[in-house]
């Protein structure tokens, strides 16, 4: 069973976001998503300062087999990216909710956070 922490929110497209600090909310991909991808070998990070809309493809994550988009779970401004992952994306697999965070976003509209799935709903989504 993949891990689905209770304190996070989840998008249909399997990104998680930490709602506790909306000025710089960490975003990554869920344990379920990293299991599906397996072997992340390359990550193309978004630009710091970019203004993005919910649902935009803003980063690319690649396994040996395929390239996959990462979508903005909410609208806002990218305030930080996890540069370490550009050199070594392994934490996306090994620690998807910790060292595997991909970017931080200043959430434009906190209502969008509420519209995302909570852990229980996401369990149903992947189950």
């Amino acid at each position: 069973m993949s891990q689905i922490p209770d304190h996070l929110r989840y998008a249909d497209s399997h990104e998680w976001i930490d709602p506790s600090s909306p000025e710089a909310a960490s975003v990554g991909i869920s344990d379920h998503a990293q299991e599906e991808l397996t072997d992340v070998v390359y990550l193309e990070l978004p630009q710091v300062g970019a203004t993005v809309s919910k649902g935009d493809a803003i980063a690319v994550i690649e396994s040996v087999k395929a390239a996959n988009d990462i979508f903005a779970p909410v609208s806002g401004e990218i305030v930080e990216v996890n540069e370490a992952l550009a050199d070594d994306p392994a934490p996306v697999n090994s620690d998807p909710y910790g060292g595997g965070w991909i970017f931080k976003i200043n959430v434009g509209d906190s209502g969008e956070l509420d519209s995302l799935m909570d852990a229980e709903a996401y369990r149903g989504h992947v189950g």
């Binding site: 070998v41 390359y42 193309e44 690319v60 040996v64 390239a67």
Partner: protein
């Protein structure tokens, strides 16, 4: 034609599901792409031993007094040099010298052959061969009767020793490129493969193939999917039919001239085009290209440019991260002017250009 929307299950489907495989459609079949992951599976084959399901591949049996002469006129390599129980890599070409299929032809005995062909080309090969078949040659497509395993890696001979000691009377592995029939032809062992490592391919009836698969796992082979099969063969620059080989390119262009015996008695379909290319030079060459810097994995169809060039000179026929080497690799039919090792190129990935260069084949050196 096979129905793309409903790919055929492998006779090993239940085994793959037990192992948690991820499946994808391949050549009309639903095949395992990976189990634990492409990287560990790739490593298992380079360092110890892996087992692949190759039940999708086709088996044709050819027999009759004119079989050698007839087949030799349709295949590029020279069957006449094969002794009994020996095999060779060879190709079927169209009249223009373009590749219909690449395959292994094994001589089972006098005027008796097994052809192991690509899954996606079974029907086309069958039609092509059958349409040209003389009355005294019998031709049987027994693809549906056989499942297959490729057991590959430096420890493959050890795995077979453990498999055959599990009961029953089974022979030793044949020598390199050799073949041995067991149990009246219900089991076939070939010392061949497509990973660049030592190993063998085992064909057994669909009723018995699952038992052989389980025996290989018990003997220490790691289950490997078609994902690792692709990275393993690409590191060795072995071409994949439908990607690196197609009817629009000749084996000379693909760098497979060694397997085309232009001077053999009787010639073969497509021979004259190859002879002309050999004399005048081919316009393009299937070249090995690596990314110079860290970058995204190159993939099929990505455009290739000369540095700062406005228009692509080619597109990648294959591409991947090389798990063994840690950088991006690919192949493309490059105009000969830019196909020499050392030539600088660029590969465009999602609108950005990445530095690349032509290198000598293969990417991954031989162990021996």
């Amino acid at each position: 034609m096979s129905d793309e929307s409903a790919p055929r299950p492998s006779p090993l489907a239940a085994e793959h599901e037990k192992l948690g495989a991820r499946f994808a459609p391949f050549a009309g079949w639903n095949m395992p792409i990976q189990y634990a992951g492409i990287l560990p599976e790739h490593r298992a084959v380079r360092e110890s031993c892996g087992v692949f399901d190759i039940s999708h591949m086709g088996q044709f049996f050819v027999e009759g007094p004119g079989a050698t002469e007839w087949l030799n006129g349709l295949l590029t390599n020279d069957l006449a040099v094969l002794g009994d129980s020996e095999g060779q890599y060879t190709l079927i070409l169209n009249e223009a010298g373009g590749v219909i299929d690449d395959l292994i032809a094994y001589r089972l005995g006098a005027d008796r052959f097994l052809l192991v062909v690509n899954a996606a080309r079974i029907e086309e090969d069958h039609e092509w061969l059958n349409a040209r078949r003389p009355a005294d040659v019998r031709f049987g497509d027994e693809s549906d009767r056989f499942g297959g395993l490729a057991i590959q890696g430096p420890d493959a001979p050890g795995v077979w020793e453990r498999m055959r000691s599990n009961g029953g009377e089974f022979p030793e592995l044949p020598p390199r490129n050799g073949i041995v029939e067991v149990d009246g032809g219900h089991l076939i062992l070939c010392r061949t493969g497509y990973t660049g490592e030592d190993g063998f391919e085992l064909f057994a009836t669909v009723e018995t193939i699952a038992a052989w698969f389980r025996a290989a796992l018990e003997a220490g082979a790691t289950p490997c999917g078609l994902g690792a099969r692709d990275t393993l063969r690409l590191e060795k620059c072995y071409p994949l039919n439908g990607a690196d080989l197609d009817p629009g390119h000749t084996p000379i262009e693909a760098g497979l001239g060694f397997f085309c015996k232009l001077d053999k008695a009787g010639g073969f379909i497509g021979r004259d085009v190859l002879a002309r290319q050999k004399e005048e030079g081919a316009p393009v060459k299937l070249a090995a290209i690596r990314l110079v810097d860290k970058g995204p994995p190159p993939r099929h169809d990505y455009p290739v440019f000369v540095p700062k060039g406005a228009n692509p000179v080619a597109s990648l026929t294959s591409g991947s991260l090389s798990p063994s080497l840690g950088y991006g690799i690919g192949m493309a039919y490059l105009p000969v002017e830019v196909a020499k090792p050392g030539t600088e190129l660029e590969i465009e990935i999602r609108g950005r250009r990445f530095r690349a260069k032509v290198v000598k084949k293969p990417f991954h050196p031989s162990a021996s």
